[in-house]
Structure formats: structure tokens, C-alpha cells
């Protein structure tokens, strides 16, 4: 019985942190946000070289074959740095291919995902939450038509994994005829989200269309989004505490005032159990199949609530400078704002959590 990180995982966190500080300092984040690059190739190459791209790719395909906890620790570090890195799409595609892909699909994609050469976009929104603005994807004779919104990391993707309305997953090569990608510009400019229009695009089914792979991908995505919020919120808290220790007003550091101290304590008290919750959800994904979906839902919903509180409170601790572009705190503020809504805001996710347990009125 051991509920903590291994020595290898701690070393991985340390080396990841060193890589990120070198390759994705705030100036790089700022440049990416201000520019039009579809992906920060330099950042992803450095991460891939360190081994981050192939974490979830089986060893026989050139990856490290690790678990979702290792991916969550990595995404947590990315959130902590507000790093522009297309990890979510790569991790979800690796999981989908490794668990449901045919040998030929695996051979075609997993190696290049692990090396960092290939990038993946993942569109699950309509299948998980229902469509809006007429979005949703239909399959006819092996071809996909329709529209997928809020596709994760679609901007520079080589392959797309798209869920249809019935919950089946499909693998689509991004340069196939009938695939049109366009950007959706969110508040968070450190990552790219897109809209994919499909007009009879050739696609290969990925696993049986019974919804099982879809719910696994949804659980993984919820857990990784929670990890991103954990990292971002920890940075917001750390920055607020550091600022409270140095900023002087009325002749003393503001961190000596109880009003400010208690804001910091409330953030820490809310955030600290979130770390264990994210670990639990990630561990459950690989080891406790009966609990995995519920744990993932709670990780996503709870981190959404806590990180909203932390983001606004950390900003307030900074006072006026907190809302300036110059300070850059807003990159993290916006990052958690997006993580909160992608694949369901907390109310939607909790509604799904109730259904997962048969607590909804349809089950009466």
C-alpha cells in the first residue's frame, strides 16, 4: 500500500521542470500567445527529447509505456509553466491507438507520436456533452461528415481522432480531402483549439463503436485537464505567496496582514487535497476500473471549482499589478478558465457523475 510518487516520478518532475524553465520561460509563452505559430515546435521537440511525447506509447512502438499518472504529472508541469505544448492531443491519441487501434494503425502512428514528429487533434466534445450550433459528426459508408468543435490541439495535427454522435471513434488523416480545420480563438492563447469541418472525409474506425473507448478517452481527458489546472493553480498560489512576502504597504509586507494571510491559507487549504485527488483519478484510470470514471469526473469538476477560486484570489493578492499584461499572471488565470469548460464545466461533469452512479431521474 503506497499512495505517493515513486523516486522515478520525482526525478521526472525535476528534469521536466528544468527543461520547461529553459525552453518555455514566460517570454516564450508570451511570444507564442502573441504570434500565429500553430505549434511551438521548439518546446515540443525539447519535451519529446526528454521523453515526454512517448510516455503513453507502448515500448514496442518506441515509447515508454507508462501510465496516466506519469502523463498527469507531465501535464501538471505544463500547466505550472503555462507552456505552449500540444501534449493533451498526443496523449489522448496515444491512448486511443494503443487501446483500440489495429496493428497497422499503431505501426503507422505510434512511433511518430512518441518521437514528437507527429501531432494529434482530438474531438470528443459533441459525443461527451452533446452538440451545439448544429455540430456533430455522422458516419456514412466509412466517411465522416459534420462538424466537430473545440477539437483539442487541432492546429498542427497530422492525425485527428474524432468521435461521432453515436460514440464511435474515427481516425482521420488531417490532410485528407474533405477535412477543413480552422481555429477557435479562446481566452487562453497558450494552446490552440479548433473547429473541424468534415465533408465525406475518409476515416478509419478506431475500435468498436460501443462507446467504451470514448468513455476511456473522456476519463483520461478529464484527468489530464484536472492535472493542468492543478499545476496552473499551484503556480498562481506560489506567485501570490511570493508577492505577499515582498510587497510592502503601510510599512510592512502585506503577507503580514491577516486578511492577506488568510486569502493565501484558503487557497492552500482548497488546493492541497486536489493533488491527491488528481493522483487518485490517474491511478484509478490504470488500476481501479470500477472507480475510474467517477474519480476522473470529480477530479475535473473539483479542480475546476478550486482553480477558479485560486485564480481570482491569487490575482487579488497581487492587487492592481495582478491584472496587468506586464505581470503575466493572466496566462494562468486564462489557462484554468479554459480547462474548466473544455469537455464540460463542473455542473455538466457532475451531472454525468450522478448518471455514472445511477443517481439521475432516468434511473428511478
Amino acid at each position: 500500500m503506497d499512495f505517493g510518487l515513486s523516486e522515478d516520478q520525482r526525478l521526472w518532475q525535476a528534469s521536466l521542470s528544468a527543461v520547461l524553465q529553459h525552453v518555455a520561460p514566460l517570454e516564450r509563452v508570451r511570444a507564442f500567445a502573441a504570434g500565429t505559430e500553430p505549434v511551438a515546435r521548439d518546446v515540443w521537440s525539447a519535451l519529446a527529447e526528454a521523453g515526454a511525447a512517448g510516455l503513453l506509447v507502448p515500448e514496442r512502438h518506441g515509447g515508454l509505456g507508462l501510465g496516466l499518472l506519469d502523463a498527469a504529472l507531465t501535464v501538471e508541469a505544463l500547466g505550472g509553466q503555462a507552456a505552449p505544448a500540444p501534449a493533451l492531443g498526443v496523449y489522448l491519441a496515444s491512448l486511443a491507438l494503443a487501446s483500440a487501434g489495429r496493428e497497422s494503425q499503431q505501426a503507422r502512428w505510434l512511433g511518430s507520436l512518441a518521437s514528437g514528429q507527429a501531432l494529434a487533434g482530438v474531438g470528443l466534445s459533441e459525443a461527451v456533452l452533446g452538440g451545439r450550433d448544429g455540430a456533430g459528426v455522422e458516419v456514412r459508408e466509412g466517411r465522416l461528415s459534420g462538424r466537430a468543435l473545440f477539437v483539442i490541439d487541432s492546429a498542427a495535427a497530422d492525425l485527428l481522432i474524432i468521435a461521432d454522435r453515436e460514440g464511435g471513434l474515427h481516425l482521420v488523416e488531417a490532410d485528407t480531402q474533405g477535412v477543413h480545420a480552422s481555429p477557435l480563438t479562446t481566452i487562453d492563447l497558450t494552446r490552440r483549439w479548433g473547429e473541424i469541418v468534415l465533408e465525406g472525409a475518409r476515416a478509419e474506425p478506431l475500435g468498436p463503436s460501443d462507446g467504451v473507448v470514448l468513455s476511456r478517452l473522456r476519463d483520461a481527458a478529464w484527468t489530464l485537464l484536472a492535472a493542468d489546472m492543478l499545476g496552473a493553480s499551484q503556480t498562481l498560489l506560489d506567485k501570490a505567496v511570493a508577492y505577499a512576502k515582498e510587497r510592502r504597504q503601510f510599512g510592512r509586507v502585506i503577507g503580514g496582514f491577516q486578511a492577506v494571510k488568510h486569502m493565501c491559507a484558503e487557497m492552500a487549504a482548497a488546493l492541497e487535497p486536489c493533488r491527491a485527488l488528481v493522483w487518485y483519478a490517474a491511478y484509478a484510470f490504470d488500476a481501479l476500473p470500477d472507480e475510474a470514471s467517477l474519480a476522473a469526473a470529480h477530479a475535473k469538476a473539483h479542480l475546476s471549482e478550486v482553480s477558479r477560486f485560486v485564480a481570482r484570489t491569487a490575482t487579488e493578492v497581487h492587487g492592481g499589478i495582478g491584472i496587468t499584461d506586464l505581470l503575466g499572471l493572466h496566462f494562468w488565470f486564462k489557462r484554468v478558465g479554459v480547462d474548466r469548460q473544455i469537455l464540460g464545466g463542473p455542473e455538466s461533469v457532475r451531472d454525468l457523475a450522478a448518471r455514472l452512479q445511477g443517481l439521475d431521474d432516468q434511473a428511478a
Partner: protein
Amino acid sequence: MDLALSPRYAAFAKEVRAFLLDHRSQWPGPGASRAEIIAWQTQLITAGYAARTIPAAYGGHGAAPDILESRLIAEAFIDTGAPGPLGGQGVSMLVPTLLEVGDEAQKQAWIGPTLRGEILWCQGYSEPGAGSDLASLTTRAYEDGEDFVINGQKIWTSTAHLADMIFCLVRTEPDAPKHDGISYLIFSMKTPGIEVRPLRTMTGHAEFNEVFFTDVRVPRTQVVGGRGAGWRVANTTLKHERGMLGDPHAAEARLAAITKLMREETLGGARLIDNPVLRDRLMRLQGEVLAMKANGLRLLTLNLRGESPGLAGLIVKLQGCELNHQLAALAIDALGELGILYHDSPRLRADGVWQQRYMFDLGLIIGGGTAQIQKNIIAERGLGLPREPKLAAS
């Protein structure tokens, strides 16, 4: 990361359960006599399921500390419904304190009978004028021959009306700085000059007492940890108290009870759980309970590895008590009009326990270090923010 139990621990967990179930006929029920309680307690100590790591020389079982074994024992009691090892302030607070700072004679005299339930204790810390600022306490003990003579008043003394003994903070050195003038005394509640008055709270019950001391004579040998060292000794004990409050097991049990209630009770023909707003509140609290449970697993592992618990430990009292309070609030809101019933009203649900908890738990948020004191501790010890200014000793 691996939540599975190794074969040795799995076997241990099974063994504890089997023992408890095999001895079901000896479980003391709600109206059990003191003799029955002592007999059960003695049997648990012999088997190693109570006072497990306390040296046999002092009346414990004498096993080597193993926090996972302790956890498995606690879970076995919860799962089987067996009446748990005796808790209370004697076992949870006085015994660890004596083990840490008591002298040999004190350990020999008090630990064994306390563990067996032969002696019940209460804690005399808070005073009307010394709550969060406990070190400003004014209950005086002056020397007279071989005795201290005590005068003053304590408050929030739960179980004082049942207790045989008290561990009590008194000011023995009035001229010393306030933290250095306190001694930790233990004495009998039968000593002449002690008056216990029940303190009725908003729940309608007297969960606490006030204790008045008038010329109470206590032998000077009954100081624990040395004269004037009471503040240090008390902090040893408070550390144990904060571990008792905010336990995630209680929150899990409450969540299960509320879920059941919301599935069974109906309003206008619809189950309470089918109200989407109430259901969302339930789900939100379920997420928080899961987070605290995972935090508890993390703390257990940190402890097993000998690593510092840090913030994960400092936040438990604040978060755990608040969570329990919110759970009670949800149960009341879900019941709606039925939720306001109390005392012995017709149509009362669950003996009125949700209202009782909602009110009593507010006391737990305040007691054992208020939420605001907890936030100071988290900010100062956990985040390294400046300490509260200490005023000059008065």
C-alpha cells in the same frame, strides 16, 4: 503508487475482522456497564487491537508502531460495526503526552488504567478569558507546603461530569512571561473544591461543562513535564487533538447516509435526488469527500515513508470540519420542511441528527483551534508568511 495490500497486511486485516466478529457477543452495547466496557477493552488490548503500540510495561500491547496496521484495525472496526477501541481525551491526548514527557511513576500509575477504561479523563485548557489565546490563562495554583492550591475556572470541558480525573493547565509562576508560567497538572475530579456545571449549547444538549476550582489542593508531584513547562506539554497534546478532528471517515459515512436519504425521501412524488440542484450539491460534496479521502491516503503514505506531512496535514482540521458541516447543511436543505423538525417531534427524520450535527459541528469548526487560527497556522507554517505579532507578555 499501489493501493493493493501486500499478502501480509491482507492477512492481518482478515485476522482483525475475524477476531471482532468472533467476539460479537462481548461487544458492549449502548447501555453497557462500565465493567463490560473495561472487559472488552482489556480483551482488545490483549489481542493487540487497542493500545497496540503502547509499551506492555505501561499496560499496552507493546507492538512495534506500524501505521498501516493501525489503519487496517480502524477500518475493521468501522466495517464490522464493532465498538471501537476506547477513544476520548484520556486515550487520545493524555496517554501520548505522558509517554512523551511524563515521569516513570506517572506512566506506571495512569497509562494502564486509562487504556482499559478504568479512569476517564477530561481536559482543562480553555477559560472564559483564554480561548484562542490559551497562554493567557489565569487559573492560579500557588504553592502551600507539599501542595498546589488551585483557584479559577475552566470552560468547554466536555465529559467533566463523567470524568474521574482531569489534565489541567494552571498558572504556577505568575511573574514569568505568559508562556513560561504555566504548569500541566493531573488530579482527581473528586478533589474537594471542584464544581462542575453543565454548559447547554444551541443543540439543546449539554455537550460541555464549566468547571470551577475553589482552593483545590493537589500534590506538587502531580505536575507533568516539569514546573513552568506546561505550554510545551500542552502543545504536544493539541497536536494529538487536531489529528482527531477532521477525519475523512466521518465525512464518507455522512455522504453515504445523505445519498440514501435523498434516494428514499420524496416530495410531490419525486425523489429528492431528482431535484437537479440538490443533486449537484451532493455531487459537489462527493468530490470534496473523495479529495479528502485521497489526501488521507497521501498522509498515510508520507507517514509510512517518514516524510513530513507539510500542508497536506495542516489543512485537515480546517477542511474536514467545514466539509462535515456542509454535509449536514445539505441534508437539512434536502429534507426541507422536514429538516426543521427537532426534539422529539412527530415526523422527525433520523432522530433529528442532521440539525444536531449542523449546530454541533459549528462548535467543532470553532473548537480545537478556530478556523481563523488554523488559517494562521497554514499561512505561517505551511506557506512561510510572517507570524502574527506577539504582544509583550502581560
